[in-house]
Each structure stands twice: as structure tokens, then as C-alpha cells.
């Protein structure tokens, strides 16, 4: 750690990991409810668990992005963070607001929560991923503004690098598109239309810039490859991301009442969205192969490479699978969607945050560059357990989705929804099993932070082996 103020990142990372654990627990609850319908009913209904699962995911990823930015920006800008106290204050505000919201979900019925938080003054609740009460949303905006202020001022006053600028554009875009969560028109078509401006333009637009810049940062640090080379790749990747991803929003406008040309625009442009993800894979492996040093933090390099591969599989391959309008006609809203959602979110955004935590945490905890061998071995085990079980979750859901699509929508005698769900319950059991393995991996991940803390760290091998 070069700058004292980078240390605020640590708070954010710890909170992120804590909420991650909560997210997975609720995922397992829901996974069981899929096959044992009244599990935990009426204490935790499925819809509540779902809300908690997805909102925790988003919130902990935001904590992760902010922590990453607080660590990365000073180092790139070569100066202390502007107003680190603000970053600390915002952390507690964000955490308190997030916790209160989750408690509200769990203790109150959703309609009571809406009443309590005066949702009728400015109704924004009731839409997937954006279920938060309006005041929570306002809180998020305040936190985001304060965050952009410290980050932006630090970048303005310091050295301007491509990594920093791309990150700043991505984070600003994240905040700007979130504003569409306040727009809640009566017309259901318009409502859905702009809902995707948050959801799609986040994960297939501005978040990809954040992903690209964090990945570039980690690669610069761990491989010692020239910055110019890495920056060039970053330019190409973000240009491609924006060209395909912005118009690619059309792949959500096939059947919601929008004009028919979206079927063409959506299909053609979103079919190209895998390209930037593929470039990222090539980029990461290329840089690691051309490395000038063998960084002692093997775990961080593993996470970085893992991100590049899994993001391509989850977003690129599984996204392409159902993105063409004639295919989506049958698969829309089936378990195929869930399979893709899981692997894409995990591969792109969970893994990049964990990569950054893996890279930064040893320094934040006072080491020179890396953890002890014991800790790293545990962390790499957790990498493989979580990643492989996520692959299986995806495969089981894909199996379920293919059967569901066929039985419910394609065969000559289509069956009704619930009959089909019964027929494919074996896949849901297997998904739950894979989910349990994921949880084991996550526990080992947490344990790795406490293992071998008093042992010396891995030393850097000086010469690069051929």
C-alpha cells in the first residue's frame, strides 16, 4: 500500500464479504423452497428470499466496486484520496441503509414496508432488482455522489491514467443510469423499457468498463507488462462494449410491446456482445504469458484469469445462447435465463471483486505483496470449489431450462407450468446440492483470511521462468 488513505478500502471489502455470505444463505433457502415448497413458510416467503438474495448481491458488488476504486484510484493517481473521512462516513451510511432495508424486507410485509416508507409520495418500489424503498434509493444516490466526488477529485488532482478514466466513466455511468430507477411510468411498456436502462445498461454497459479497468489494473500490477500495451487493449474492449452493449439492450425489447425493429436490432447487436468478453479473455492470458515478473500473489492472478474465462462463458456463451429473437421467443423467462444470470454475475462481477480483494487485502493488512502459502492454498481451493460448483449450478439450470422450454412451450402437447416444474424437480435438487458445495467454498474463502496470518509471505521469484 503506497498511500495511507487507500486503507478505507478495507472496510468496504469486509462488508462486501459479509453480505456475500448472506446472499448465498438466502440462495440456498430459495433453492430448497423450489423443491420443498413450504420450507420456512410463513417466516421467509420465496418472494422475500428472492429479494434479499438479489439485493444483497447488488449491494455487496457495489461495496466491492467502491472498495476497489478507493484502493485503485490513489495508486493510479499517485496521491492521497481526497476526503477519506467522507469515504468512511459514507461507508457507515450505506451499510446502515442497506441493513435497515434488508431487515425491513424480512420483518414487514412488502406492502407494509411501502406504507411505512411513504412509497406513495414517489412510487418506485415493486420492480425486480429495484425493490428498495424510495428513501433507500435516495440514500444510494447520496452515497454515490459523495463517492464520485472523492474519486473524481482525486483523479482530477492527480496523474490521469487510462485505467482511472475508464473506471471513472464506468462509475459515473453506474450512478447516472441508476437515476432511471426513480422513473416509474404508469404505462407498463415504458416502465419495462426504462427498467432495462438500469439493469441491462449496468451489467452489459457501464459495469463492463469497471470490470475492464479493474482487470487492467490487476494485470499491470501482477505481470509488469507495459502500461501502454494494456491501455490499448482496454480502449478496444470498451469501444466494442459500448457499440454492442448499448443497442444490444434491444434483446429485452422483443416481447414487451416495443416496435418490431427491436427484434433485429437486439438480435444483431447483442449477438456481438460476446466479442468484448472474448477479447478480455485473450487479453488476460496474453498479458500473463508475456509477464515480466512472477508476482508472489498467485491467488490474485488465478482470480483475474478466472474472471476472464468465466465472464466469457457466463455472459458471452450463455448470453448468446438465448439472445436471438427466434430462440428467445421460446426461452424467455425460463430457467435458461436463471442459468445465464447466475454464471454471468458470478463470472464477471463476483469474480472481479474477489480478484481485487485478493490483490489488495494482503497490503491492506500490512503485508508487502502477498499472503502466506497456507492462506493462498486455502484461497485457491475456495476458488475452485466456488467456480466449479457455479458451473454445475449453471449446467443443472440449463438442463432444467431446456426441458422446461420443450415441455411447456415447444412440444405438441404443451404442459402447464406447475406440471413441468414437478417433472424437472430432480434438476432443482442437484442445483441445491451444487449450491451447498458453493457455500463450503465460500466458508473456506472466509477461513483463508484467518489462516497462516503469522507465517511469512511468499517471496517473489526474481527470474521469470521460461
Amino acid at each position: 500500500m503506497k498511500y495511507q488513505s487507500q486503507s478505507v478500502a478495507k472496510l468496504y471489502f469486509i462488508a462486501a464479504i459479509g453480505l456475500f455470505v448472506g446472499q448465498i444463505l438466502f440462495g440456498l433457502v430459495m433453492g430448497l423452497q423450489y423443491v420443498v415448497g413450504d420450507f420456512l413458510f410463513p417466516e421467509i416467503p420465496f418472494n422475500v428470499a428472492r429479494m434479499v438474495h438479489t439485493n444483497l448481491l447488488i449491494v455487496w458488488l457495489l461495496f466491492g466496486f467502491m472498495g476497489s476504486a478507493y484502493y485503485l484510484v490513489p495508486e493510479e493517481a499517485e496521491r492521497e484520496l481526497v476526503a477519506p473521512w467522507l469515504a468512511k462516513l459514507m461507508f457507515w451510511i450505506f451499510l446502515a441503509a442497506g441493513a435497515a432495508t434488508i431487515v425491513g424486507y424480512l420483518l414487514l410485509s412488502y406492502s407494509d414496508l411501502a406504507k411505512l416508507t411513504q412509497d406513495d409520495l414517489l412510487p418506485t418500489m415493486g420492480r425486480e432488482f429495484l425493490e428498495q424503498p424510495t428513501i433507500t434509493k435516495l440514500g444510494i444516490v447520496v452515497v454515490a455522489l459523495a463517492f464520485l466526488f472523492s474519486i473524481g477529485m482525486t483523479i482530477l488532482k492527480g496523474r490521469k491514467t487510462v485505467v482511472n478514466l475508464v473506471l471513472l466513466i464506468g462509475l459515473t455511468g453506474l450512478a447516472v443510469f441508476f437515476l432511471f430507477s426513480f422513473y416509474n411510468p404508469e404505462n407498463l411498456v415504458l416502465d419495462k423499457y426504462y427498467w432495462w436502462w438500469v439493469v441491462h445498461l449496468w451489467v452489459e454497459g457501464v459495469w463492463e468498463l469497471i470490470l475492464g479497468s479493474i482487470l487492467a489494473f490487476i494485470l499491470i500490477k501482477t505481470t509488469g507488462v507495459d502500461r501502454e500495451v494494456i491501455e490499448k487493449w482496454l480502449y478496444v474492449i470498451i469501444a466494442m462494449t459500448l457499440i454492442t452493449g448499448l443497442i444490444g439492450t434491444g434483446h429485452h425489447y422483443y416481447w414487451i410491446g416495443t416496435p418490431a425493429f427491436w427484434q433485429w436490432w437486439g438480435s444483431i447487436f447483442s449477438a456481438m456482445e460476446p466479442i468484448p468478453f472474448f477479447m478480455m479473455t485473450i487479453f488476460a492470458f496474453n498479458m500473463v504469458n508475456r509477464r515480466r515478473r512472477n508476482h508472489p500473489n498467485k491467488a490474485a492472478v488465478l482470480w483475474a484469469l478466472g474472471t476472464a474465462v468465466m465472464a466469457f462463458l457466463g455472459a458471452g456463451v450463455w448470453g448468446f445462447l438465448h439472445t436471438l429473437a427466434p430462440v428467445n421467443y421460446y426461452t424467455h423467462g425460463t430457467q435458461i435465463t436463471a442459468a445465464h444470470g447466475h454464471m454471468a454475475f458470478y463470472g464477471a462481477y463476483v469474480m472481479i471483486v474477489l480478484a481485487m480483494i485478493s490483490y489488495a487485502m494482503p497490503m491492506l493488512r500490512g503485508r508487502r505483496a502477498a499472503n502466506s502459502p497456507r492462506s493462498q492454498v486455502l484461497e485457491m481451493w475456495s476458488f475452485w470449489l466456488m467456480t466449479v460448483s457455479m458451473v454445475f449450478i449453471t449446467l443443472f439450470l440449463t438442463g432444467a431450462g431446456i426441458l422446461q422450454t420443450y415441455l411447456q412451450r415447444y412440444s405438441d402437447q404443451p404442459l402447464d407450468f406447475m406440471t413441468v416444474q414437478d417433472k424437472i424437480s430432480l434438476f432443482y435438487w442437484l442445483r441445491e446440492l451444487a449450491g451447498a458445495v458453493f457455500l463450503i467454498g465460500l466458508v473456506i474463502y472466509v477461513v483463508s483470511f484467518f489462516a497462516g496470518t503469522d507465517e511469512p509471505e511468499v517471496a517473489e521469484k526474481v527470474e521469470v521462468d521460461a
Binding site: 478496444v236 469501444a239 457499440i243 425493429f261 433485429w264 444483431i268 456481438m272
Partner: protein
């Protein structure tokens, strides 16, 4: 002079980008052709509402500007920075001609009430040409950046990769139009 390079002129990154862009256009072209095969009558009828004179002028404008860009690269290889900037300026002007003519064409169709939802032919015609239109605009921005740097003496006979990079992108924009023109305006 006769020895061959392993890499195309300009920065390799722009070539990767060019490949990706060409890929998008290829898909678009194929989609046009196969959709047309299912609506031959419709496509043939509405194709006649296009005026190929506009397209001719535009094709000539793009080819000419591409030629100017070639001359710009030749100039900088001889270390003529001013001349390089002037050729680039001329190329940008030809790009401007393209934009104006294309806008007139759009104006004609829009004032006839044509939209993306009028029919499948117009959907393709407007989408394809507009996507290309945006590329012309982007290419002009790139060329302008290169021209400004050239005028400030930022390139020389020994360092002109930037000029070649911008040039390669611009030729790509031309190349795409070379297919688009017969496909949309002439083939039936």
C-alpha cells in the same frame, strides 16, 4: 520497398477493432439478404423509392476521401507534415459531403413519413445506412484528431503510425459502403 511486413499498417489494436466492426456489418448484410429472400416483392418495390443518384455521389465521395487519406500517408512518409494535414482535411471534407447528401436522402424519406416501423425493407435500409452513417462520423472525428496532430508537427517520416491507424479505420468505413451500395441500392 519490396520487403513485406508481418503486421498491417497502423496500430494492431485498430485492426482488431476493424475486424470486430466488419463482423457486425457482415451479419447485418447477411440478415438483409436472407430476409429479402422471404419478401422479394416488398424489397423490390420499395427499393425503387430510393434514389441511386444520391448513393452514387456518396460512393464517389467516400472513395475520393479514401484516396486523399492514401495521399496523406504518402505525404507524411516524405516528411511533409503540412501537406499530410491538408490531405486529411480534404478527406474530412469529403466525409462531410457524404453526411450532407445522406441527410438530404433521410430528409426525403422522413418527410414522406417513413419510419423504422413502416416495413421490413425500410427497417433495414434505415438501420444499415444509419449504423454506417455513425461510422462515417466517428471516422471523421478520428481523422480530425490525426490531422490536428499532424499540423502541430506531431508526426514525421520516422513516426507516423498514428496516421496509418486513422487511415486504416477510414478505409474500413469506405470498404463497408462498397458492399452496402450495390446490396441496398442496386441488387434486386
Amino acid at each position: 520497398m519490396t520487403e513485406k511486413n508481418r503486421q498491417p499498417p497502423g496500430d494492431l489494436a485498430i485492426w482488431i477493432f476493424i475486424c470486430a466492426e466488419l463482423g457486425v456489418f457482415a451479419v447485418f448484410f447477411a440478415a438483409y439478404a436472407f430476409t429479402r429472400a422471404q419478401h422479394v416483392e416488398l424489397f423490390n418495390r420499395y427499393q425503387q423509392t430510393l434514389n441511386s443518384n444520391y448513393a452514387l455521389i456518396n460512393t464517389l465521395a467516400l472513395i475520393t476521401s479514401s484516396y486523399f487519406v492514401v495521399r496523406a500517408v504518402a505525404a507524411i512518409r516524405d516528411d511533409h507534415q503540412r501537406s499530410c494535414a491538408r490531405w486529411l482535411g480534404a478527406a474530412i471534407a469529403m466525409g462531410g459531403v457524404f453526411l450532407v447528401v445522406k441527410s438530404m436522402e433521410y430528409h426525403h424519406h422522413f418527410s414522406a413519413g417513413v419510419t423504422l416501423s413502416t416495413n421490413t425493407f425500410y427497417m433495414f435500409y434505415l438501420s444499415l445506412t444509419f449504423f454506417h452513417f455513425m461510422h462515417v462520423l466517428m471516422g471523421m472525428v478520428i481523422l480530425a484528431a490525426v490531422a490536428l496532430k499532424a499540423r502541430r508537427g506531431g508526426y514525421s517520416a520516422s513516426a507516423y503510425t498514428g496516421v496509418e491507424t486513422g487511415a486504416s479505420y477510414w478505409h474500413m468505413v469506405d470498404l463497408v459502403w462498397i458492399i452496402l451500395f450495390p446490396l441496398v441500392y442496386v441488387m434486386r
